[in-house]
């Protein structure tokens, strides 16, 4: 065994220049794949984490059908009690109740139609990062405080500042008129266009009062920083709410299918490019493998004559390809990893990214993902392709006739 490794190793270095060029080609591909896959996955993580963190949560409990048709009447009874029950039963601290409505909101000079959301202040702070991005004024003082928060863009459009009054006119859950006047106590700036432009928040009890909710709400929002635990939590929560058979648990990708699909689309188009690239690399190095067999016809003839089986020689050729590829992959992966590590620490940003970041709800610097998947997936694909490329020359050895082969130059 050792001898065949030594044998293969020496064969590789018979033509150092050729070997080095081949190694460079593979290493280039591997490094590039490690870098871009790490960057892509890192970007997706951030997009998910951001959108989950800022407002939407990892999971939501809703009335069945509410997601597709968010109607005031598709509500959950005694929502705050149910939230408390879930917190105790599952041990997850970050569970909060919300209620959503639509209303005409007016300042002294402007009127807009916006989403109105009722939140539980203390719990909302555990679930959403919105309470942390109040740029003017302060957050809600209590769950029944007579206060509202609005987004920066809406405040600008409505010419409102902290302390001004906001008139709210909408329809309650029972169809009655919901009207009130509340002071703006804070203005938040989340960076998400949707939230900053089109949402007014008020404490849940106040909301339930204004919109005649009678203890009802529309969603229990659950947050946890570890997205991977999602399925575990989902099962736990599912068990808890199974006695309310009209409730359903939705995960972030069901709450925001667009985000999930955008990621999938981006990831699959990325892989299309990677595969094309890997195939180009494979063919560009195929010649090295092919030549290393063709120019050794005579040598193989002698080996056959000496009693080597074609299988042994084939294995030797494969071993050479394997060693070469592994060296190249190690170098490429190490370089790709080093680049990603650098950006992991210092962050990567490019010009114009701020605008895109706002639209897609991402932070304006990307940190690559450093995980087994992001590091080894690309190199693994390259390994498979190069070994396939080496298989063809290795199989050709079976066609050799010892006597004819020995006579070749």
């Amino acid at each position: 065994m050792t001898s065949s490794w030594t044998f293969a190793w020496r064969n590789i270095w018979r033509y150092p220049r050729r070997t080095i060029l081949t190694i460079l080609a593979i290493a280039f591909g591997a490094g590039l794949l490690v870098f871009s896959i790490g960057l892509q996955l890192g970007q997706y993580d951030l997009m998910i984490q951001n959108s989950v963190r800022i407002y939407h949560g990892l999971l939501q409990v809703q009335k069945e059908g509410y997601q597709d048709e968010p109607k005031m009447r598709s509500s959950i009874a005694n929502i705050r009690e149910l939230g408390e029950q879930l917190r105790q039963a599952t041990g997850i601290e970050a569970i909060t109740a919300r209620a959503n409505g639509f209303a005409l909101v007016s300042s002294a000079t402007r009127t807009y139609g916006t989403l109105i959301v009722g939140v539980e202040p203390k719990l909302e702070e555990r679930v959403s990062s919105l309470p942390g991005v109040i740029k003017d004024g302060h957050y809600f003082s209590a769950v029944d405080a007579q206060e509202v928060l609005i987004g920066r863009s809406l405040a600008r459009n409505m010419q409102l500042s902290v302390g001004d009054e906001l008139t709210i006119l909408g329809t309650g859950r029972d169809g009655s008129v919901a009207a009130t006047i509340l002071p703006v106590v804070g203005i938040y700036e989340s960076g998400s266009r949707e939230l900053d432009r089109n949402m007014v928040q008020m404490p849940l009890a106040t909301f339930q009062d204004v919109f005649s909710m009678q203890g009802h709400g529309h969603a229990l929002v659950i947050y946890h920083k570890d997205v991977k635990q999602l399925e575990v939590f989902r099962v736990q929560i599912q068990q808890q709410i199974s006695k309310h058979n009209t409730l359903t648990v939705l995960s972030w990708d069901e709450i925001q299918p667009g985000l999930k699909q955008m990621i999938e689309l981006d990831y699959s188009s990325g892989w299309m490019m990677y595969i094309v690239l890997v195939v180009v690399i494979t063919f560009s190095i195929l010649n090295t493998f092919l030549m290393s067999v063709l120019e050794r016809t005579r040598e193989f003839g002698i080996m056959l004559a000496l009693g080597y089986r074609p299988f042994d020689i084939g294995r030797l050729v494969m071993l050479e390809a394997l060693i070469l590829t592994l060296i190249a992959l190690t170098i490429g992966t190490a370089i790709g990893f080093a680049i990603n590590l650098y950006f992991y620490i210092y962050g990567l940003s490019f010009s114009g990214m701020d605008e895109l970041a706002k639209m897609y709800n991402m932070p304006s610097t990307i940190t690559p993902q450093l995980s087994l998947q992001s590091i080894f997936m690309g190199p693994a694909v390259i390994l498979i392709f190069t070994l396939l490329a080496a298989l063809y020359p290795a199989l050709r050895i079976r066609l050799l006739q010892p006597v004819v082969a020995m006579r070749k130059i």
């Binding site: 050729r18 063919f283 560009s284 092919l290 114009g352 895109l356």
Partner: protein, 408 residues
Amino acid sequence: MNSFHLLISLAWRNLWRNHRRTLVILFAMVLGVWAMIFTAAFMRGMSLQIVDDTIENMTGHIQIHAPSYLDDPVIEHSFSSANPLLSRSLQSTEITAAAYRIRVPAVVASERESIGLVMVGIDPDDEGQLSFIQSSIIEGHYLKDASEPGVIIGRKLAERLETRLGKRIVLMTQNNKNEIADRGFRIVGIFDTDLEAVEIGYVFLTRNLAAKLVGVTDDVSEIAIKVSDLKRLDEVVEGLRQQHPELDIKAWYELQPISKLMVDLYDSFHLVWHLIVFLAMGFGIVNTLLMAVFERTREFGLFQALGLKPGFILGQVWVEALMLLILGLALGNGLAWVSVLATGEGIDVSAFAEGMEMANLSNIIPFVIVGQDLLLANSVVFVLGMLTGLYPAWRAAHLVPADAITRI
């Protein structure tokens, strides 16, 4: 001339001495060139689609507003459409269509639901030449003329409001005295587009009705303009700005900076992608040519011993590289052309509809080959390929005759 001819035919024959090796590297190159052009066509299709969608989705090529409208889109910030100077500038031959709009935020309510959106008062004929609405009606009809009393809403909005064609909805908006004005309208048409945000975000009615509701006569919030030649867009914008310094005049890319940014990103990615693919095949090209050179060490030694100048040998190997490149480029371009033809209208990505929507894109992405992209891909391969071929050629020319001739 004769030696040139010799050079060419020698190179061609040498190229096919080891046809298997040449075919392998040729395949790698064809694949690489194909990948470059095909991907470039996809990216070009994508960015043209972004521009088209942006322009069709009510943006037009140019928009005119009152100065503070974009920050605060209310009816107060409007300007008079009865300005003869303005009408005259819009009659320029460089402008193919101009649509006057009253465009203000509003709330629409059915018997069951209410939703905030944008109310757009349009002149049916002019608008039809400019934006998607007229061609997207799936039920009922488009606004017939300026006296049409009904409204048009999106399919998704109708669902959300639980209403349908022929039903009434109420529009509420702020009038020019900062009071709430409301009025009921019958739905006469329903439109359907790829973008849900558009279906749910707009309600259309005639400009006369909208004007009455918000309490103005000939004031408009915006004029959208289509130009005859997009290449001259900046000049047209500049001309309008000089004639009407009191108005806010912007080109589409200033109005939708994100679309512009995406287009720019795609554009800059073209070159990056070409370079990556070239590097991937460049190593193989060098390797293959080097092999071809080293195999012929003895032959080159002999050439030199016979008195051929190193320049000739360099030229010969370089011409081999050139032939390989030209073949690879020709076949790669051909293959890419055929595959783009084969995709027809483009690829349907409606499986990712909601994701595309977040990116502001519709569901069919066409593959578009434009001269500029072809030129870029081909020049990258050609120029870098020739530079790459120089190394093996140089090696071949600098063999020492006496050593080379004795090598097996």
